[in-house]
């Protein structure tokens, strides 16, 4: 029977890959559906807007908590231990600086082409969440790889 450390090790690798896939899928869906910039009437694309908000919120929650809610508590503790918590913090900080840079760019660009509050939030949150998740995934995979 595999030990808790072995189970956590496998689950942690899977999580790192799953987080990267989730981030890529999230970003690709935005390119395809463009929920905020859709020229359709408000009611027609409201479902896309709500889906985006749920999606972004769920991914942020995953980044904050480390996920693994289906795992036993001991395994979850091992998966999201000191290194993972540190990686999560680093990824959140990286995402924060991406968000700040985009927010400044949107602020300047709004003088040329006005943007709505919803568009501005979308432009700031989408890439910063995606990049923070990719950053977390990369840090986790690096932690797993042997020198």
């Amino acid at each position: 029977m595999p030990s808790n450390v072995e189970v956590a090790d496998k689950a942690s690798r899977k999580r790192a890959i799953a987080v990267a896939i989730a981030a890529i899928v999230f970003l690709m869906i935005q390119v395809v559906t463009r929920p905020v910039f859709n020229p359709l009437p408000e009611t027609a694309h409201l479902s896309k807007v709500i889906m985006w908000a749920i999606n972004a919120g769920a991914l942020l929650l995953l980044l904050m908590t480390g996920g693994g809610l289906m795992q036993r508590k001991e395994i979850r503790t091992l998966i999201h231990d000191e290194v993972s918590r540190n990686n999560s913090r680093s990824a959140i900080v990286f995402g924060y600086w991406i968000a700040m840079a985009i927010a400044i760019a949107v602020y300047v660009a709004a003088g040329i082409k006005p943007v709505s509050a919803r568009e501005a939030v979308y432009l700031i949150v989408t890439p910063s969440v995606g990049i923070a998740l990719l950053s977390f995934s990369w840090l986790e995979l690096r932690a797993h790889s042997d020198a």
Partner: protein, 68 residues
């Protein structure tokens, strides 16, 4: 020149014929934590450093040193 932290975790673990997973089990952390500390990617908290030293039965200052 700024000081940096080096450690002898890999050597001390090898001296006791422990794998990373076995040491992780003893300390109650994941294998990746042992891996990142050994590779110098992650600087452990004081609590983790003390737990590692206790598990390997060495003084913490023998396991971790400041250089530079």
């Amino acid at each position: 020149m700024p000081e940096s932290l080096t450690n002898r975790l890999r050597e001390e673990r090898a001296r006791r014929n422990l794998t990373q997973a076995e040491l992780a089990e003893l300390v109650g952390v994941s294998r990746k934590t042992i891996n990142t500390v050994e590779n110098g990617i992650f600087v452990p908290s004081t609590i983790l450093a003390l737990r590692l030293a206790r598990a390997l039965n060495v003084a913490v200052e023998k396991l971790f040193q400041l250089t530079g």
